[in-house]
Symmetry: C2
Subunit: 302 residues, 2 copies
């Protein structure tokens, strides 16, 4: 987590810009050009979102520490979309950004290891070691227990990477399972305890482990509890902006050191040009302006 | 689920053949040929696993009702691997097989919808409707509650597809979270109740809903409980064979009608040629023999 924290300190900005490029978010002149070159098909769509992503990354790479591509918005364009995801990650890394790939993968044993090869470690092709995707970290789902997480943690340690485990998600129905009471607390508190255990022995120089967690900004009360339960765990906080969470709501995820959390905004940044007086050709300038506003808002509260 | 059940009845076989093509499972002559054509890289590896899959599918397509590609083993070869996954699904469908794509996806709202577009529904490219991947069903993880499942169920109804929700997984540590006691049963029983609810209104002509579940063969006691709790839910049963579950263990997942479950074997079928007197060129014959043995074993118990 040290790499991420250093970038947050350097840019004085605890924001991660979500890259969830639905085609309806992409300015029409970019779409037209992509369709002209590749056709009105999955390839054309993938080319459009990659172009859009590059413009966004260029606009904020000097003021934002991290990006979070959401895999679903690439998989929906098939293997062409997954190729655009590979390229997006590469481009973001080349601009010095820390990349959190939001894939929420989960499986057991050798299958979890295969996912970890894909995203954190490396794939062994009869002796040739290759990195298929190159993010710094991924999100994972811990419903399957330690068997599903340990292979990722192993690669985190070996290859200097991190994971974020879903603890309390930002959606309205997250409580259906996560808020249920066990004999000694809720299901999400139990998950928090597991997260503490999984991160043991991986604490970096700022006091945070390589096993972070996801805690929605839409649940500030739960965030306060969880901040105490997991003092050494870095929080990835979705739900800011479009989902209804504000700077104050997000603030409960920070520690007293002003660190401990990074807050995501996707639509708010990507679609900033759709609000106010922007021409769609100014999508990048609008995104940058939104990133600055978000930085100022979050820094008020941490 | 009717489509799957019809194929099970027609072939008198409740087996799903897992397609988890780790490179170490692939006969060396296939790998050599693929590397010669594409190089010893991600593309070469992807070509090898696709060729292997086609051979396997050809060997058992007339006796097995379904295949289950595990996405992790394709993602580990990057977008080239994902392309091999697309082709594998297409090939299996062209041979009349029901395809369960094991992706265990999970997210909320519009993101869950994007995953559902990718795998069950269709992607809208400015008016052109495209199906990126073409499985009949996917596995999903319900930790995020109804928001994460409803978008999939909607597409199941609209496009005649199914999902399988993780309830009790086959791995040793699955109990860490899933077995914990709530006020009125365990976490996995609560998930089972949610699954019942999500499937309501989608019951087909054989009495099963479009929302199936995953229950490991390695936990026969829990399977017995769950079979009673979810009478209208179809079970996808991993853990047979290599993971330690036998025919008797799997039998608890069937209903009295002899239906209600499909049992997965991956390594056992794919690597059948590594046991006994087979030459690696006979991998397909070995796989077929294993499929027949598994059919006979399962039919003894249901």
């Amino acid at each position: 987590m040290d790499k991420l924290i250093e970038k947050i300190i350097e840019k004085n900005n605890p924001t991660v810009a979500g890259l969830d490029p639905k085609l309806e978010y992409v300015p029409s002149y970019i779409i037209d050009k992509a369709f002209e070159e590749h056709g009105k098909n999955l390839k054309g769509a993938a080319a459009a979102i990659l172009e859009f992503n590059k413009g966004l990354i260029d606009s904020f790479a000097d003021i934002v520490p991290a990006v979070k591509p959401q895999s679903a918005y690439y998989e929906m364009y098939g293997s062409a979309g997954v190729m655009a995801l590979e390229e997006t990650i590469k481009y973001a890394k080349s601009k010095g950004l820390y990349v959190i790939l939001d894939v929420k993968r989960n499986d057991i044993g050798t299958t979890a290891s295969a996912y970890s090869c894909a995203y954190l470690g490396q794939t062994d092709i009869c002796g040739e070691k290759v990195r298929p995707f190159e993010p710094d970290s991924v999100t994972v789902n811990g419903y399957l227990g330690t068997d599903g997480i340990a292979p990722f943690v192993k690669d985190c340690t070996e290859f200097d990477r991190d994971i974020f485990v879903l603890v309390k998600t930002s959606n309205p129905s997250s409580g259906e399972l996560q808020d249920l009471m066990l004999s000694d607390g809720t299901v999400y508190e139990k998950m928090a305890n597991l997260v503490n255990g999984w991160g043991e022995g991986t604490i970096g120089k700022y006091g945070y482990s390589r096993v972070g967690c996801v805690v929605g900004a839409t649940y500030p009360e739960q965030a306060q509890i969880l901040r105490k339960v997991m003092p050494s765990v870095f929080f990835l906080v979705p739900g800011y902006g479009a989902q209804g969470g504000g700077g104050k709501d997000a603030s409960y995820s920070f520690n007293k050191d002003g660190l401990g959390a990074i807050v995501n905004s996707s639509r708010g940044i990507m679609c900033a040009y759709k609000k106010g007086d922007f021409d769609e050709k100014d999508f990048a300038a609008a995104a940058r302006q939104e990133c600055i506003a978000m930085r100022e808002e979050l820094n008020k509260w941490r």
